[in-house]
């Protein structure tokens, strides 16, 4: 058999007896798909919220701790008299 004929034979084999589409398919698909979309929206919002909270926490910490200000030296003794 030539490759072309072989493919045609197998294709005929596959295309025998197509199954029936269940009646409520579209409703079920929309229900599940809608739930997926809602979940994604919630997850995205939660992510933004977490990002915002982290940024806010960092800003507040930086403002109170002020890590860029040089701390007073503790090694040199204070000058008391000349």
């Amino acid at each position: 058999m030539k490759p072309h004929e072989r493919e045609a034979a197998v294709r005929r084999m596959l295309e025998r007896t197509p199954p029936q589409v269940p009646p409520g398919l579209h409703t079920e698909v929309v229900r599940r798909g809608g739930r997926m979309l809602r979940r994604r929206t919630v997850a995205r919002r939660l992510m933004w919220l977490a990002l915002l909270a982290a940024t806010l926490a960092f800003v507040i910490w930086a403002w109170t701790a002020r890590p860029w200000v040089e701390p007073p030296s503790t090694t040199t003794p204070p000058v008391s008299k000349w």
């Binding site: 197998v10 295309e15 197509p18 589409v21 398919l25 698909v29 929309v30 798909g33 997926m36």
Partner: protein
């Protein structure tokens, strides 16, 4: 603004409904071939199709001119490959007993055969979809064809008409 949004949602719903009406039959047939279930009793194929279409619905707005059928088929193949991995393990040697012509093939052979022959996806695209080298796809495809056209005699089911000759 709100009206425009509502009309867009309505158009989107109608488009999706038309897509499902047009594509569900063919996709369900492909899914039934993949799961090697009988056409009249195919709960796994229906579940695969429902989930693949739901994913297509969820990404409907982000298709950007891409063919929704190709996208749904991609979801279906990915979901089947993922499920087959969990169900049959790495080698996929478990063959379900059912009325399907493809029951003798492994899940991977069925997947490649259905994509290449039934869906007409090109070899390179099939390879890219499954993450396999092109030569490997070609080899599995050839093996699946050979198994279907020349069934091994030892594994062939007993035909009612064939009788063994008493010695």
């Amino acid at each position: 603004m709100r009206e425009r949004h509502a009309s867009q949602v309505g158009r989107r719903a109608r488009e999706f409904e038309a897509f499902v009406a047009g594509a569900a039959g063919r996709l369900l047939h492909a899914a039934t071939l993949l799961t090697a279930e009988a056409p009249a009793d195919n709960p796994r194929a229906r579940r695969l199709l429902t989930l693949a279409l739901a994913q297509t619905y969820a990404s409907w707005d982000r298709l950007r001119g891409e063919d929704p059928y190709a996208r749904a088929r991609q979801h279906l193949a990915a979901r089947f490959a993922h499920g087959a991995w969990h169900r049959y393990g790495l080698l996929g040697r478990h063959h379900p007993d059912s009325g399907s012509v493809l029951a003798r093939l492994s899940p991977q052979e069925r997947l490649i055969l259905v994509l290449r022959l039934y869906e007409g996806v090109a070899e390179e695209q099939t390879a890219a979809l499954l993450g396999l080298p092109s030569e490997r796809v070609q080899g599995i495809y050839a093996r699946a064809m050979a198994t279907l056209l020349h069934p091994p005699r030892s594994a062939a089911p007993a035909v009612p008409g064939a009788r063994t000759v008493p010695s």
